[in-house]
Amino acid sequence: MVIENPLPHFAEWFPAAAASWLLVVGVLIVAALVLGCLVSVLRYGPRLGFTVALGTAVSGVVDLVCMSPRRVAALSWLAVKEAIRRRVILVFVLFVVILLFAGWFLDVGSSEPAKLYLSFVLTATTYLVLLLALFLSAFSLPTDVKSRTIQTVVTKPVRPSEIVLGRMLGFTIVGTALLLLMSVVSYFFVTRGVSHTHEVLAENLRPAGPAVDGRQPLSGTTESSQGHRHRLFVDAAGKGVIESEFGHWHEIQVGGTSDKPSFEVGGPEGMFQARVPIYGKLRFRSREGVDIDRGINVGDEWFYRSFIQGGSVAAAIWTFSNIRESQFPDGLPVEMNIEVFRTYKGNIEKGVLGSLSLRNPRTGLIVEVKVFESKDFTPLFIFVPRKITEFSGADVISSKRETPDKGVEFSPPQNLLDRRLAERKEFDLFNDLVADGEVEVWLRCLEPSQYFGAGQPDLWLHAADASFEVNFFKGYFGIWLQMVLVIAFGVTFSTFLSGPVAMLATVGAMIGGFFSDFLTRLSQHAVLGGGPFEAIIRLVRQENLMTELEPGLRTTAAQMADRVAEAGLWVIAHILPPFTEFNYADWVAYGFDITWDPWIVVPALRALAFLVPVFVAGCFFLKTREVAQ
């Protein structure tokens, strides 16, 4: 699975993140105070203005601190009632209808049907729930203001903060219930949708080797189902194996007599998993034997993976830490996903050969564990046993060589290497290769002039298997976070805007959030075709993105205006929550466990970091507006 923006663990992330959050919030508070004073002074004159502004600020803080849980609960309960009254259940009905017709869009013959199905349900749920959250939150308060029911409420000892929080909580409760319902339905939809078996016809199997005790080993393929078939082997003992294809395999039971065997094939296995990965830190060794951050670029537009040259000392090296014997008592299950790049055709019926080695970072001992045939875009599994007795030469001792500014540096120093280590015939994983929980995994390409490419998350240790069901619901947690953010933005906008305008503003925030990556790049001048004004000129004049604009006053003016717009975009891109970060569809679809730390904790805190200021802003907006018109 591709992880383009890896998250640091909570412990590493939190201090710096919290500090920068406090800084931003501090700046925002000061800005809000200054702005509030300014507005107040304009309205009430200098002397009274300051008093009013400061009084509002103080009582606002009091509002936040003195919230009564009972009142908040009552207001949430009202929001829930209102949502039910506005027939949110229709959204669920719509969802079910979409699922009923989903067959139109989903191709079970796709090579990764599970991924397609999961992406589909997660996307459909996201859109529906966000839409629901949008409509509920943006229209609720304005409707109350318009129907004046709000007047009956605010003449009770209710604080604006309680109204805002009550709304947010109430809609969140409704959304959560709906999301739970949808997730359960989706789960069954997905598991049912891709479930299938294959028929196996005895007449389509060929003998594979000599018969033992009158029983013939057989090989062949299963019949086709959902656009694919599997290769199958039945040994003389009558034990059948079905090969993995399209990301899954099946169990097979062989019955019947030896000359008239019958076969029973089970449902798909391995389609839905939640592997708990342990990721290492990736560095590369260049052809010159120096350790560097990136490998070679073979001309890809995308810099995610970089490549190592085959038949040289070049290697991709992952350093894993905290590898404990208690966690891997039998050995290390290494899984990887590498890309192959050939500069000449070679033998196209065979994959390019590669090797996997382990290295002890303290002693420098390298043991080549396995030579394998590559296959790209498909995970490869290599199990490194506890006792390594079979290894293919190349057992050497090597230092890590780096060339920082001050010169060449070796770790460990070359004169300290114990060369006798390599002469042994058996190695123990933990005694010989893991040092203080640290071990390096080296990937090499063995064929000259062929290349292997990898990015940091392309090789991992398969630490455990978590429950797919739990992971599935964790995937929905991402949607939940997005929903809560939309509700918060919707309610906050609706505290000072009319319903439709609040909705548009929230949609704007969502779109900005979904494209915050693009906005950031746009603001950094990293997008072809220039900023918004330049783009308008190009659109009108039908010029493509690459041509230089005619120099002149118009171009200069547009580009200068773009500088200003870019600054604005930068701010917008940074104050809107990056919605795409809460999208866990890939994890669920590719079968990776969404680990709590950092993938749940950090995004949840990030969402909270947005929620708090948005909530506070909502309180102040509601406090400073006249609810009667």
């Binding site: 591709v2 017709f101 139109w104 869009f105 191709d107 796709s110 090579s111 990764e112 991924k115 397609l116 992406s119 086709s224 656009g227 078939r229 537009e301 995308w302 995610y304 890309e339 192959v340 050939r342 055709k345 196209i348 019926e349 994959g351 390019v352 590559s374 296959k375 790209d376 875009f377």
Partner: protein
């Protein structure tokens, strides 16, 4: 706002609505002649503006006429609330992004969504099918995966055809992918094998031909044929050159014949294949092919006939006053200034740049056209001569034009090739060459030598045939044979034998070895 004002406004809106609806319903009313479609509405329309339904019929734009109606696509189109173009654009961006990030599953899913939104945008189908079959497939290292993606691209095109049944270029593309992507890629050997074994695809395509005929060239040929049918029914070729377009079907038969011989199939089957190729090439030559001029067609087979007609008239013309042409030339030559004559007489290798230009001018001045010749004839024959001259020039021009078109598809080369390849000599020669190479690969030098020698003997026989007198000048065949001779040399070298002085194909070596060496860089 006063109530009267508000009421007036409502009435105003209402009238506006009614007007709009009236215009729309008038424009959109179904034609009276819904059943009888083409050509008839002109008489009915008269001065009337054609309504939408009529226009739709005339330009064949109604969904049912374009292809299969897709309820899902229509639903999605409606769901975008008129922002279909924007949505398709966003999806296109997304598809590009998925492609860049090598997320193939999402790429194909997104492509499907795009085509649901824009089912009649032909370039989308063509561009993205190419993407799948050509660009995505090579990203994979495993040739089986590559093959899968080639087929996926073809399936994508077939989806496009279902929605656009009258679009010849989509059908043609399917033919092209099946023939050329599978048949000429680096992995063509593996691809052709996988294609033959691909029961699922044939089943999905509802193509129930016998397993022996599952050759990609033959399957592709059928698709070319289907696209030709569509063009014959009046579909637009868009920007494709017609002569190229129509050449692909017979070319596929040629390629098929070549391919089976590469696979080691000779004898009657090869002969049949080449014969069929020759026949189809002839049919191709007999087909009326549109030229760049509107409503003017040519037949590639006609060039020889034009030659004959022209020669016939020239002979008649020259018969009036034999030697006249030469006489005129001489007269003209004598009138030239001395400097020019000197330049002209200087042997080409000694000419200066200035001489070259002068000589060129002289050569042009010395050409006596048929018309000039005819006008020198006096007496009663003069009008006949002028007519003959005009006709001769016309036929020469036609023949020249015809040859220009022929060159585009290498017409004469392939015509000749099909002719000689179906002779028993050529088929045996090729079979022996194949066996020779096989033996060489197995290090069976004795057999290899024997096979090669038999091969050369067969070629000799062919070259000696009267009806193939010109064949040894054929550069492509000649070089191919030189290549085989070099392999034969290897065999001899390995068995420590000298190359025979009186080699049976010495004339071929003499003619083509230089070019072959140049090409091979030896």
């Amino acid at each position: 706002m006063s109530p009267q004002h508000a009421f007036a406004r409502k009435i105003f809106y209402l009238i506006g609505l009614v007007l709009l609806v009236a215009v729309l319903s008038w424009l959109g009313q179904p034609t009276a002649s819904e059943g009888s479609v083409e050509g008839k509405e002109e008489s009915a329309s008269g001065f009337r503006l054609p309504n939408l339904a009529q226009l739709r019929l005339r330009y064949k734009l109604s969904e049912a006429q374009l292809g299969e109606i897709d309820p899902a696509g229509t639903t999605i189109k409606l769901a975008t609330l008129g922002l279909r173009g924007v949505a398709a654009n966003i999806l296109w961006e997304k598809a590009n992004n998925y492609k860049m990030k090598k997320d193939w599953t999402n790429l194909s899913a997104t492509l499907q969504q795009i085509t649901r939104l824009e089912p009649h945008f032909i370039s989308v189908w063509r561009f993205q099918a190419w993407n799948l079959s050509y660009n995505v497939s090579v990203e994979f290292d495993d040739y089986r995966e590559r093959y899968r993606w080639v087929i996926r691209g073809i399936d994508f095109l077939r989806d496009g055809i279902r929605r656009n049944e009258r679009e010849p270029m989509l059908v043609w593309d399917v033919g092209w992918y099946i023939t050329h992507k599978i048949g000429t890629a680096d992995e063509s050997k593996q691809f052709r094998r996988l294609f033959k074994e691909d029961d699922e695809t044939f089943q999905r395509w509802e193509d129930y031909r016998p397993a022996a005929d599952r050759d990609n060239w033959l399957v592709g040929k059928d698709w070319f044929w289907r696209s030709e049918k569509l063009v014959d029914q009046g579909a637009d070729l868009r920007k494709t050159t017609p002569v190229l377009f129509f050449s692909h079907r017979p070319m596929s038969q040629m390629n098929y014949s070549e391919a089976i011989e590469k696979d080691g199939i000779f004898g009657e089957k090869a002969k049949e294949a080449w014969k069929k190729a020759g026949d189809e090439w002839f049919e191709f030559g007999a087909r009326a092919i549109p030229t760049t001029e509107k409503d003017r067609y040519i037949h590639l087979n006609d060039a020889e006939q034009f030659d004959k007609e022209a020669a016939d008239r020239i002979a008649k013309l020259e018969a009036f006053e034999p030697g006249l042409r030469e006489k005129i030339r001489k007269e003209r030559y004598e009138k030239l200034p001395a400097a020019k004559r000197k330049a002209y007489e200087t042997p080409p290798e000694k000419r200066t740049r200035d001489d070259w230009e002068k000589a060129q001018e002289v050569a042009e001045q010395l050409i006596v056209t048929h018309d000039q010749l005819a006008r020198q004839i006096s007496g009663p024959n003069r009008p006949i001569a002028i007519k003959l001259a005009r006709e001769a020039a016309e036929f020469e021009k036609k023949a020249e034009e015809n040859r220009l078109y022929r060159q585009i598809v290498n017409f004469e080369f392939w015509r000749e090739r099909a002719r000689y390849e179906q002779t028993p000599e050529a088929i045996f020669a090729r079979e022996y060459a194949f066996k020779g190479a096989e033996a060489l690969a197995n290090a069976d030098l004795i057999k290899a030598r024997e096979m090669y020698e038999q091969c050369f003997a067969k070629w000799r026989q062919l070259f000696d045939r009267k009806d193939f007198a010109q064949l040894k000048n054929d550069d492509s065949l000649g070089q191919e044979i030189v290549g085989i001779i070099y392999k034969y040399r290897q065999v001899l070298e390995k068995s420590d034998q000298p190359f025979p002085k009186d080699f049976v194909l010495n004339d071929i070596l003499e003619l083509h070895e230089k070019n072959w060496r140049a090409r091979e860089g030896k």
